[in-house]
Symmetry: C2
Subunit: 535 residues, 2 copies
Amino acid sequence: MSRNILFIMCDQLRFDYLGCAGHPSLRTPNIDALAARGVRFDRAYVQSPICGPSRMSFYTGRYVRSHGSSWNNFPLRVGEMTLGDHLAPLNMRTVLCGKTHMAADTEGMARCGIDPASTAGRRIAEGGFEVWDRLDGLHPTGGKTPSHYNDYLRSKGFGGENPWHDWANSAEDEDGNLLSGWLMENTNHPARLPAEHTETAYTTSRAIEFIEQAGGPWCLHLSYIKPHWPYIAPAPYHDMYGPEDVPPPVRSDAERTAPHPVFGAYQDLRFSRAFARDEVRDRVIPAYMGLIAQIDDEIGRLMRWLEAEGHADDTLIVFTSDHGDYLGDHWLGEKELFHDASARVPMILVDPSPAADATRGSVNDALVEAIDLVPTFVEYAGGNPDHPALEGRSLLPLLQGQTPEWRPVAISEYDYSVRKVREVLNQPVQDCRMTMLFDGRWKYIHCEGFRPMLFDLREDPDELRDLGDDPDLADLRAGFHDHLCTWARAPHNRTTISDTSVMARRGGELRKGIFIGYWNETERAEALETGESGN
Amino acid sequence: MSRNILFIMCDQLRFDYLGCAGHPSLRTPNIDALAARGVRFDRAYVQSPICGPSRMSFYTGRYVRSHGSSWNNFPLRVGEMTLGDHLAPLNMRTVLCGKTHMAADTEGMARCGIDPASTAGRRIAEGGFEVWDRLDGLHPTGGKTPSHYNDYLRSKGFGGENPWHDWANSAEDEDGNLLSGWLMENTNHPARLPAEHTETAYTTSRAIEFIEQAGGPWCLHLSYIKPHWPYIAPAPYHDMYGPEDVPPPVRSDAERTAPHPVFGAYQDLRFSRAFARDEVRDRVIPAYMGLIAQIDDEIGRLMRWLEAEGHADDTLIVFTSDHGDYLGDHWLGEKELFHDASARVPMILVDPSPAADATRGSVNDALVEAIDLVPTFVEYAGGNPDHPALEGRSLLPLLQGQTPEWRPVAISEYDYSVRKVREVLNQPVQDCRMTMLFDGRWKYIHCEGFRPMLFDLREDPDELRDLGDDPDLADLRAGFHDHLCTWARAPHNRTTISDTSVMARRGGELRKGIFIGYWNETERAEALETGESGN
């Protein structure tokens, strides 16, 4: 029996928009069923609350400061090891079906003489994945990567220059005029496609097609682009929920009074100003919920198929997201800051091993990070997750009911240099950096050039009171600052040699015939006899 | 006229073992003549006081924490850009004649499908250099890299299994018995070879052979392995200096009383215990001086040849070293800690451009780092030194008499995880890290897991009084600690995109047809009209 991995990711799915996570109105029975079969990690954080950097951390198992791709489409430098590099020596294929947001370091590849058309070149350019179907949303064909989605739509009779936009992500009015899904006013309409031909259904079907012919072992990254923008759902999902199902916004007037400068500047971005309006929330959030409901149905379809094919017992299943969505909470839209709505994600793992039976259906509150998945997969595939490039930890011991000492804080980073916020705050490009440290109670956010933010999630679970300048908490903040600096000082780039190998090198000079510090033959002979160089 | 670069490096040459640097007895007229033709930078520091990491910083233009190769033979990870990568697009060949201490990331190369026999593969495996002659000392043939030196020796009648050791680095007694140069007792004898066939002369001759046939433009790294161990000089250099020429050791009894734990552990290593003995200093240092005198003569020969060939006016010349040598100062041998004897190096640049005439013969006290050479070379070759991977600054403005605002501190790092010191101090491998910050007066040395060291070079130029626990200087140390942490937090790995390019990306969403935060067509049309996304 081959051991496979099904690595499901949604885009922009909040941690709390699932039935099993306590959403008051949204129903996700199929995802809930995964949680019942496995472990739901309730304190999982991404390494950066935005697509590209978050995904590069998911795929490399490294913090953003380590892999360096700190914003969407900042190329992942050639040489960074990815999931595919870690799994290939374990004879596991790593395959993509859906979105990655990967931007290749084409200059670096050219410099290293890597032919983009070679096997290695194709894999490096795709973040370590063998591409079964890449679907990054906008420009799904004709761009940097292959996808069959537009061709598929055309084959089904949904034509035009960009069927992705005109059919899957648009609606139409009574007169047949196109209503773009980009415009939030339109999101109460159904998409122009039947649900079975939308991205979510297409991607699921393509995943099934892969597994059908794959043999094994494989690690399949099934990566849905929804419920990310454009927020437009096909029937019947478009009106499955209404304004009455929208939870009230988590925000307070106090948040608009003398906010932290970065928070204030974010409140003033277009997407935040939009989501501060109830009209927008009431129009968009039902569509967002409908998109999630569709994903849930598709996961149900996939799970039933897997079970029928006998894969339920040999496949590690992960369900997660690359970041959340403010949806108007804290007067913000999109993501990018570190409130739970943005930086915390769903994280459900189903380990079919008998050793994991004891934890099925449980909720685990360990501080889990996105970078933990690569070592988890490596260990599941039979490898050693202690690779010097990997900065996360395997979750398998937690799945098997062990309680190892765990990390004291989860860390997430964000670089706002590409945002208008940089101009508003007049920050140097290199200093547009924020780093979150969360210890399970306190969330400390270091902002280069500004005071930190600080939230006490025990007393203020909604994160409405920024204690970043509370004089009584100066020592607490100093402790977090110290932790941050210790982490930043750590060797994030010594990736080519393991600690074990470092230790084994002591005495290597003698073995190589290098004799440093010896006066005469007597001293040398003694050292060779004992094997102790004294250095 | 082509513009060439001659990048001369010695191995283990202290900053103060040159006539022009004020040595009381050593004569180096040819190197002094370079200083008279150019600028001598009197406060130049290497990025790590040990061969491999220091050289990887010289060759990448990046701090050790950035390139990750923190000890000898820790492979330089594939993808790190080197001098050769920066100069190739400027149509300059980057060529090696001598030592690099490069260890290739063969696993990474295999992972990326880089054929070690391809042009790119050979260059990547050699730290970016095209190898004319690599001579790393011990095992000069049969090891990982080609060198012709042993073949050369054999062709001259100096045979045996390892002519490098048996002839160039050994002496013989009256009965013809071999006296190994590794053993310091033997270093008052001459090497068994005439001077003209030793490594220093051979490497110089090979450099001349390269230039003779090279055309241009070229950047030639002429990299002498001497005066590094084994300390054995050929006649007449072996007795050109005697114990009477050896400067007194810079050390104090107080240094042995309750030293900083790392300093104390280093004092106890074999090479330090050896150099604490006057007998060793008096035997070894004259040989060390003789080796330098030979280098000086060879540089004189090379300079006369260059002048005769008309290269004096088209070649930027650099003379430097990869680190120093304690030679018993501070009760230490070798290097690895941060006293000036170890971390400070000679740094002479001769820029033939008329713009540099004004500074000829001057001494510049700017805080120069090894990583400044790559940007200097890039600018000299006509390129833009503002590459995102480069962390140093071009020295050309200083050579041309400009006085730009300069860095406030020089930074150097060391990783003692491979040393016995780790075991003695029972430190985790990842925490065997020290970082020096020197601001021109104060030298602060952060030691992970221990108190810092601190020296006031204005009041205590010999660095004999460690003020690392002086309660009166707590604020000063806190300031340095803060500077260290700010530096560590900086984005050292965002190497694939420049600040300029980051700024140009603002508004890129609109250009790509991504519309985030728009309610209706009116808003979208206005944004398209003004080009301002509001995000």
